[in-house]
Amino acid sequence: MTASSPWRGALPRLAGGLALILLPLVVSNQYHLHLASLIGAFWILVAGLNLVVGYTGQLSVGHVGLLAIGSYTFAILAGKHGWDPILTTVVAGLVCGLCGFLVGLPSLRLPEFYFAMSTLAFGLIVTELAVARTELTGGGVGLPAPFFPGPLGTPSGFYWLILAAAGLVTWLTWNVTRFMWGRSLVAIRDSPVAAASVGVPVFRAKLTVFVFSGVTAGVAGALFSSLQSYITPDTFHFELSLFFFVSIIIGGRGSILGPFVGTAVLTALPELVAPLAKLGTFFYGLLLLLVVLLVPEGVGRLVQRVIAALRPPVVEHHAIRPDLDRLRAALRAGARR
């Protein structure tokens, strides 16, 4: 495990971070900045969901419901009641964490497909309620979501805010996956029975991760609604859930960078390549199928493998040199006996 020294690869990582921070100074086009902010907001959700889907192997296809709750919390508290947007973002995270707890508590006990279907139903129910509870959500007309105050309200300021939040969430998930917790999550994904038999608290671990993903979905929802500036129930359709889910699977389960690249590429690609926009969701389906059939570990792992193949193999020289002195001493000792 020589490769896991914490400083290895720090330079490109630092450069990457710096490039992301300096992005608004380089990119003058507000549309590209908007796209980058959108990717950031989605990534905050996907980073949390990645722990659920990619690491723990719980296939949640209903996170759009949590995103919607976060967005509406923000639009209602910060927009209608004039709360401080930063505080509201935190509150949205907490509210969605609670929702995640309430949803996860029963449904995480269910087997795979049952769990996937419960989350699907949850997503549908949230949108249905968003339309029905007009006095709260504005019904079909929806709600305007306020901007953040002062410099955070400008496109670059808001981008930096999202970047900071995304960086924090990424750092948190990265820490989780590096240490014992992350290992136990992977163990749950690969074999729940084996995990339980070596003392991993399976249900508690699953629930904790799911609640965490709820918190990130809430924060993402708050930022997303401010970015969109207006939210309606139509925004939170099932395909969006599918999009998050596919980003993770395509990027690669059990990795952080893979899903990030997945989110970025899947968000940007239909914008830049018009024919793909026409195919829309069909394209997501096709990508998902190809990845599952050809590289079930995700495109990220494939890239990784290619890089590993291109890199000159590290040959470690372990010269086998007998320690003749000790051998002689031992032989002598044996002979004496």
Partner: protein
């Protein structure tokens, strides 16, 4: 109130048929396919196209629609199941069937259009209120389908092979059963059944590209409540779901229809996770 129950029963029969389709696929592959609801969508859309668009008579349109479903079932097996199922138990099948389901829905949307289109009447009958064919067709069909599947499992060689595979696929394989071929067969049968189900309910759902996802969900809820693997369970669960959602809509309007129906049934699932007619699986290892 009669019409509420009849409508609920008819829609519930569609859910129950989806449950049966799940069961057929599950018996040989232990896979719950996300494409299940889309089979009914294909049946309705192609039925409408063959009969309404091309003007074929029912004795040609019905088998043709069933054939489309069967072909799609086979395609699902070849593309999404065969390659994936042999790899560890990572539940990759959920992803691959989800991918196929998404693609077929979008493809049909692009080709057929996103507006619902009419489905022709199948039996010469004047509109007859609660006794209309759009209600009794699915109700009769689900009973026929359940009875037929029962006979098939109990009386035919092929059916017994299915049962053997669902009991223990390894043992069946050891006794010389070509499990791959049997599984493909079960997907063909389920495809045809799903398409026929959609065909029979076409007058209720119209030929609409987007009904699949909701049918996948509702058919599964019906089956989960009734008990996975049990055809009786699919029937009871489907009817319960259909009637509850119609009654909910009757008393509370359409705004909370989903929430009430699915919420209630999820609750039932938490109380009895194996379903009404299901058997608890104790073997986790």
């Amino acid at each position: 109130m009669l019409i509420v129950l009849v409508t609920g029963l008819a829609i519930g029969s569609l859910y129950a048929m989806m449950g049966l389709v799940y069961n057929v696929m599950y018996s040989t592959s232990k896979v719950l396919s996300m494409t299940t609801g889309h089979l009914a969508m294909l049946g309705a859309v192609f039925g409408a196209w063959f009969m309404g668009g091309l003007g074929w008579p029912i004795w040609l349109g019905l088998p043709a629609a069933a054939a489309v479903g069967a072909a799609f079932g086979l395609l699902t097996d070849v593309v999404a199941i065969r390659r994936v199922i042999t790899r560890s138990n990572e539940h990759l099948w959920l992803l691959s069937t989800l991918a196929v389901a998404t693609m077929v829905q979008q493809a049909v949307g692009l080709w057929w259009g996103t507006e619902p289109r009419p489905f022709p009447r199948l039996v010469p009958q004047d509109p007859a209120g609660a006794l209309d064919q759009k209600y009794w067709l699915p109700i009769v069909l689900v009973l026929l389908m359940a009875a037929g599947l029962g006979l098939f499992y109990r009386k035919t060689m092929f059916g017994k092979v299915f049962v053997a595979m669902s009991e223990d696929a390894f043992a069946a394989r050891a006794r010389g059963i070509a499990t791959n071929r049997v599984r493909a067969m079960s997907y063909v049968i389920s495809g045809a059944l799903g398409a026929v189900a959609g065909f029979a309910t076409g007058q209720l759902t119209y030929a609409f590209f987007a009904v699949g996802t909701l049918l996948t969900l509702n058919g599964f809820v019906a089956l989960a409540v009734g008990g996975l693997g049990s055809n009786m369970g699919a029937l009871v669960g489907g009817w319960a779901l259909g009637i509850i959602s119609m009654v909910a809509s009757h008393y509370f309007g359409g705004e909370y229809q989903q929430t009430i129906a699915i919420g209630l049934l999820m609750l039932a699932l938490l109380v009895r996770p194996q379903g009404i007619f299901g058997t608890r699986q104790v073997r986790a290892v």
